[in-house]
């Protein structure tokens, strides 16, 4: 699971109000190569919760994304490459996603989070 997907997930247990973002317990993180496409990054940026991406990247071993992003930065190759790396090149292979409100852990195995709920959570 890439951090772009992490940014699109939230805890859906019935009654949970603040289920975003999942905390990450990284047991195994893999670095992969993804095609760099500035247009894609600029398209996806407005859909992201930036702070959640920064924190997730730091947890996964890639700290240093700036807290604020300006229009100029979205034209800056150096920034875009670090954004690209955090968003698409860090893969959570093994570990867990943890609901920020309830602490419920959703296991991640072989890169796949299991978001199925128990009957009493629906």
């Amino acid at each position: 699971m890439k951090l772009l997907t992490h940014n699109m997930l939230s805890c859906h247990i019935k009654g949970v109000q603040n289920g975003f973002p999942f905390k990450i317990d990284p047991v195994k993180v893999q670095e992969v190569d993804a095609d760099y496409d500035p247009d894609f990054l600029r398209h996806i940026f407005p859909r992201l919760e930036w702070k959640a991406l920064c924190e997730a990247a730091a947890t996964m071993g890639a700290p240093g994304l700036p807290e604020e992003v300006t229009e100029e930065m979205l034209q800056d190759d150096e920034f875009l490459r670090s954004f690209h790396h955090a968003l698409l090149e860090l893969v959570l292979e093994e570990g867990a996603l943890i609901c920020p409100e309830t602490g419920r852990q959703f296991p991640v195995h072989k890169g796949v989070p299991n978001l199925l709920l128990n009957e009493d959570e629906n």
Binding site: M1, T5, L9, S10, D35, H43, R47, P113, L115, L116
Partner: protein, 221 residues
């Protein structure tokens, strides 16, 4: 030819717990290949398949996007762990495993809140076969086809979610058979602000398969 850039059935993984590519899958992929011509102009950036099964369809989408040089984020879900594994194997066999993130989930649980009006391409080949209602709840491969009364139990559960997910340019492809009453499905979706049209129909054995494509109704006032 875009037609040459879809998943190879011989490289598609399916064991006895996973629905293997069949006529319904082929019709859906044919409809997607036809649609992909328009992706050159309006590239889909966020693509989601619900219930990926063998991975044949998700893999075909990833290959079409790759062929067109479109950078997109693809997510595929399935409730059945054997299907999630099969999808991973199929993607791996086509060298596109890194292009699709997989999630084990019931429909789009966990994704709905954050995908609000974000999905450019949404694809669902639902369990559409009419069966007794209780068969819908069986685990394993039955979940891939058992659709309950008129084959509509899972389809009807999913339809109300779609309007919230599709982006302004988004398209939703749904596989149906005649027993599902595609016309009625389209009229339900109209109430959610989505207009549908049948983009491809084919008779296969006992089934009359139709692919419905939905998009946001353009507001004209």
């Amino acid at each position: 030819m875009l037609r040459d850039h879809i998943a190879d059935v011989r490289l598609t993984h399916a064991d006895r717990d996973v629905y293997e590519p069949s006529d319904d899958s082929f019709v859906l992929v044919d409809a997607l290949v036809a649609a992909a011509e328009s992706w050159r102009k309006v590239p889909p950036r966020i693509c989601v398949e619900v219930g990926s099964g063998s991975g044949y369809i998700s893999c075909s989408i990833a290959l079409l996007l790759q062929q067109l040089g479109i950078a997109a984020h693809c997510i595929s879900t399935d409730i059945n762990p054997a299907a999630v594994s099969a999808t991973a194997c199929t993607l791996q066999a086509h060298n596109v495993l890194g292009k699709v993130d997989l999630i084990r989930s019931d429909l789009l649980q966990g994704l709905r809140a954050r995908l609000h009006r974000a999905v450019d391409l949404l694809v669902f080949n639902p369990p559409y076969v009419p069966t007794p209602d209780e068969e819908v709840l069986r685990s394993g491969i039955a979940q891939a086809w058992a659709g309950g009364n008129r084959g509509r139990i899972v389809i009807d559960k999913f339809l109300p979610v779609v309007g919230d997910l599709l982006s302004a340019q988004g398209h939703f492809f749904l596989v149906t058979v005649a027993e599902n009453d595609p016309e009625e499905i389209m009229s339900i979706m109209q109430q959610h602000g989505l207009s549908g049209s049948i983009v491809l129909s084919r008779r296969a054995d006992e089934e009359l398969l139709s692919i419905i494509c939905f998009k946001r109704e353009t507001v004209t006032d």
